[in-house]
Symmetry: C2
Subunit: 257 residues, 2 copies
């Protein structure tokens, strides 16, 4: 199977790298950023790279791994008439690819990617959607070469999964950043929080987070909450707002008054 990648960002880099270690042939990298295209092509020993869709080579599958807003325009290129196209994006509906072809789908790896980190793709859940059963079977076979965790996820589900991913990745990271700022303002080394963060993470892995919620909000410990809010008034106002809204959200989830 011959594949062309359009894109050279984090997802394109990790996905093409993982696929290049199988019997798949990645024959071309197309990217607006020609330096990135060349770098990625070199690193996976792919011979062709370009910064324009006009150079596209003949392949069995075109993987569009670019920013959400650019997918539609790329897919509308006439070269893709009756070609096999997928995108890799959590929050974009599959049928955005339908303009030129009946063979299209989504290949969404649910993970956070960073060019400088190694990724064990075998543990990455891959969410598949396809325009028909034949296309689905091809994508399932392809993803089975790099991952053991394959999920059939439609566009509506994938949108929501992407929101959940924002909560557990982007928002959790932001809470870590807020907490670090609190301790660093007190001249305390933020390393002090790491064992607690480890335990938080390990508990979630073993148990349902709903069942193990602790803290002032679920105890309805108004005195502690008020004390915390009065201290946080001396911080930028987002600290108080986040504290109030998450405490309120906990009360709502557990039907506390």
């Amino acid at each position: 199977m011959k594949i062309v990648f359009i894109g050279s960002g984090n997802v394109a880099t990790h996905l093409s790298t993982a696929l290049s270690k199988t019997d798949i042939h990645i024959i071309q990298i197309i990217s607006k950023n020609i330096a990135n295209a060349q770098k990625l092509a070199n690193s996976i020993e792919c011979e062709s790279f370009s910064d324009t869709l006009n150079d596209l080579l003949e392949a069995d599958l075109y993987i569009i791994a670019v920013a959400d807003a650019e997918i539609k325009k790329i897919a509308s290129h006439k070269f893709f008439k009756d070609r096999f196209l997928v995108h890799t994006c959590g929050s974009v509906k599959m049928n955005i690819l339908s303009e030129n072809t009946n063979q299209y789908g989504v290949f969404y790896p649910l993970q956070t990617f960073n060019k400088n980190n190694r990724v064990d793709f075998s543990e990455v859940p891959i969410c598949l959607e396809a325009s028909n059963d034949e296309v689905y079977n091809k994508l399932e076979k392809l993803s089975g070469k790099i991952s053991t965790k394959i999920f059939k996820i439609n566009s509506e589900q994938r949108e929501k999964l992407h929101i959940a991913a924002v909560f557990v990745n982007n928002f959790v990271n932001h809470l870590f950043a807020l907490a670090n700022e609190i301790v660093e303002r007190e001249n305390i080394d933020s390393e002090i929080l790491k064992p607690l963060i480890s335990a938080t993470f390990e508990n979630m892995y073993k148990k349902n987070p709903f069942d193990i919620q602790t803290g002032p909000a679920i105890r309805n410990d108004i005195e502690t909450i008020e004390k915390h809010l009065s201290i946080l008034k001396n911080y930028p106002k987002n600290f108080v707002e986040v504290y109030e809204i998450i405490s309120e959200s906990i009360r709502q989830m557990y039907n506390l008054k």
Copy 2:
């Protein structure tokens, strides 16, 4: 050194268990809940237990590990005249213990404790504060028997540290619970989120969370944010509120308009 514990909850259980494995003698457990007192006493081979402070035995140190609101009343008991007293609480000032004695302090283990989990105390940061240097040295020696991570933290710092702990433990756990609810409503197994949560955690361990923030809010990707908010309108209102406030907090932290 002979120690009496007042309290038989999560902190008392884990701390007394860790200390009982050293050359420290825990000679008594006092707890309103006599069944818990007996159970804990048995498990650490301590001979005496009671549900009343009137039975207190002579000891070198009294560790008060009870709910925040009960500490002051316990410390005011006349038995503690000139005795050596500590509490184990993050959000209660040290001088609440000063009514009867000049020898007092705080021994705050910064970790989440659950009776059913084992805890490796050697990795638990212990935050110490003392009424004078002699008391501090005693507490430092004591904590060195169970942990390698000892921090000198005053009451003002400890209050803030406790708030940071609420962010990284209680609030992060709540975000996991919200995310699980989102995927479960779509009949997707919440296991699908675990590799992403693992990566979020590992990234935080290796890098400063401030430097690795990703997601629609920091990209100022208004289109995705609006799409997410319109989907979340179909959920209980705390989902939208949490999404909005954390996205806004990210924008504030990075000075995005």
